[in-house]
């Protein structure tokens, strides 16, 4: 039996839904930041030189502006994310709990293939050493489109990243395309 054609009204209910805030299990640490900036090959002294950073407008060591999107790691004692690879040699090594927007309700659809449609980010402040990052995702838009190559679902997720004190760090708007 052929699957029913998706309808726009099937997806309207998701717009505005917010996920549970995801809280980084550790505050930003200098050594994690060291590994991070070495990996992106950015030698800005703001990220490691305390005296230099104190004399800057930041008042201390801060992370790179986009660091908050990577602030969420597996806490000690949690399930081993590589269990999937042991269980299935074809597993890709990713985990459904990955990503700041994993707490959003799953959108039910017949679409199988996921593409990244791009990101738009606004920056307001850098995460400082000792601060905890919290991410709150929201479905900003879920739109069914019909094109020459068939239907696709455009999902726009807006995620706010804040400190535990509530200071806004950045807003990341990501567009996902399901085909």
């Amino acid at each position: 039996m052929q699957a029913a054609e998706p309808k726009a009204e099937d997806f309207a209910k998701y717009i505005g839904m917010t996920g549970t805030p995801k809280v980084a299990h550790m505050p930003l640490e200098r050594d994690s930041l060291r590994r991070f900036v070495q990996a992106i090959m950015d030698q800005d002294r703001l990220y490691f030189d305390e005296a230099y950073a104190k004399g800057s407008r930041y008042g201390g060591i801060v992370a790179t502006p986009l660091y908050p999107v990577h602030a969420f790691r597996s806490p000690a004692g949690s399930a081993d994310r590589l269990n999937t690879v042991q269980a299935d040699p074809d597993a890709d090594g990713t985990d459904s709990s990955d990503g700041a927007y994993s707490s959003l309700p799953k959108i039910e659809s017949a679409f199988k293939r996921l593409l990244n449609g791009g990101n738009e980010i606004e920056f307001y402040r850098c995460l400082a050493v000792g601060e905890i990052c919290i991410a709150t995702p929201k479905y900003a838009n879920v739109q069914l489109k019909h094109g020459k190559s068939g239907s696709m679902l455009l999902v726009t997720i807006e995620t706010e990243y804040r400190t535990q004190a509530g200071d806004l760090l950045l807003v990341n708007v990501q567009t996902l395309i399901w085909r």
Partner: protein, 167 residues
Amino acid sequence: MATICYEDLETGFRLAPVDKGRISTSHIMRWSAAVENWHRIHYDYRFATEHDKLPDVLINGSWKQHVLVQLVKDGLGAGGWLWKMKFRYKKMDIAGDSLRATAEVTDRQVVAGLGFVTLRILLLNQKDEVSTAGFAIGVVPLRGGPAVPYPFVKKPEYQDIRLPADD
């Protein structure tokens, strides 16, 4: 270092490029480990080429984002602020590619005593192929004007300052 001001950033001005050189599997592994990204297309050659039919292991898109951020952050100097950025991935980058990022001022305006510059940002490989493209809006002080506030605060006067549409 002298503060970079709005008057220094005429339309057509190019920020200093960021050249990361040849990105090896070791660089990709270092990034994947730093952010605990265990997706095998980034470090498992057999999985990437045989299972996912890719030409080689891929340089992470998440890593490339940070190169573009560094490009604008460094280019605007210690008194500037990268406010907005958008980008799309145009092409895969694989292990062994050499990557560099460029930025050029395409538009500029003064709003409420601060300078706002729009930049075309690109990430290119050793063949000058664009793998990631987008735009950024940076905020810089006017010469002799007030400093860009930190944390940056979005004011109602800024509502018409938008990133260009995709090309």
